[in-house]
């Protein structure tokens, strides 16, 4: 586990303020690397952008089509493609919330 310095704490302060994340949860997020797989394009870029901003390390793979897969060690989440860009944003938001809260909790 890494210690967060003042700048890092400020950067993630709104996440740390959440009971479901907190200081320890944010430390786990910063230590975690997630793998995002799925076809090239704005939807995958959006997932990568938000995961990176939350503090995750992100690796990107292209060897999937038709759906997205986000994985961290044994945990895997998938997301269908389709339904339009706005609906994708709603669904991606819900999925990324689950991923962040799950990985913040650790073991």
């Amino acid at each position: 586990m890494v210690d967060m310095d003042d700048r890092v704490i400020e950067q993630y302060s709104r996440q740390i303020l959440l009971d479901q994340i907190g200081y320890d949860g944010q430390t786990r997020i910063l230590a975690a690397t997630v793998r995002v797989q799925g076809p090239d394009g704005p939807p995958r870029d959006l997932l990568v952008r938000y995961l990176s901003a939350m503090g995750f390390g992100v690796q990107v793979g292209t060897n999937l089509s038709g759906y997205f897969e986000i994985a961290c060690q044994d945990a895997i989440w998938t997301m269908e493609i389709g339904g339009g860009r706005s609906q994708f944003m709603v669904d991606a938001g819900a999925l990324l919330t689950e991923i962040a809260l799950t990985l913040a909790q650790g073991e």
Binding site: S13, D19, Y50
Partner: protein
């Protein structure tokens, strides 16, 4: 082509502006924000980076999203009662991406005066809300029954970027509906985003005449 004005270029404004910039059927998109980027914004305003700290949000976001399907332009000012007529002169519909109740009341008064729709959005902790307020339909006071100037804000509380992303998506769906079908004042719908529901939920106002006379 419709002119969409986005008030606020922060956590909800970032993804709203991104989604709008990829549409092909809009006039140039207006981003209104007098605020500058701070380090504490970066985790949920992900079109901003460390080098943008101290720069105006509307200007920076417009530059970052350049090259999409529709151009964006910045109005680097806070929306107030005194500048609303100038700033919103061209707007057909306003997207509320402020985190501030007073700015929403400014938008609402403008909308009442000009009989234009606007889309209210908010996010705090893990919950978000979104609703389109059409002329003749329910106003903020109809929905929230308050005259207080401080509604839900994300100042002290935590908030997650994925929640603001979901709210922005819902706001864009409400915009999509309006572009396709126009206003529907008899069918006000408040969308709630809360992970405890599993998916987002909606509350319907049913036919409801606003009696607040534009003073919601």
């Amino acid at each position: 082509m419709f002119h969409v004005a986005v008030v606020g270029a922060g956590a909800i404004g970032n993804p709203i502006a991104w989604g709008l910039s990829l549409r092909k059927d809009l006039a140039p998109i207006q981003l209104i924000d007098g605020d500058v980027v701070e380090r504490s914004n970066l985790a949920r305003q992900p079109w901003f980076g460390e080098d943008d700290i101290g720069c105006n949000k509307a200007v920076t976001l417009a530059a970052r999203l350049a090259g999409g399907e529709t151009p964006l332009y910045a109005s680097p000012e806070m929306l107030t009662q005194s500048n609303r007529e100038i700033l919103l002169a061209d707007a057909d519909i306003v997207m509320d991406a402020t985190d501030n109740w007073e700015a929403r009341l400014v938008i609402q008064e403008w909308a009442e005066q000009h009989q234009r729709p606007w889309i209210f959005n908010s996010a705090v902790r893990l919950e978000g809300m979104s609703t389109r307020l059409d002329p003749g339909g329910p106003c903020l006071r109809c929905w929230f029954d308050t005259k207080e100037t401080q509604g839900p804000a994300c100042f002290e509380a935590g908030v997650l970027g994925s929640v603001t992303l979901a709210v922005a998506g819902r706001a864009l769906l409400l915009l999509d509906d309006w572009i396709r079908q126009g206003s529907s004042p008899d069918q006000g719908t408040l969308w709630l985003i809360d992970r405890r529901f599993g998916s987002d939920r909606s509350i319907h106002s049913g036919p409801l005449r606003c009696d607040h006379g534009g003073h919601g």
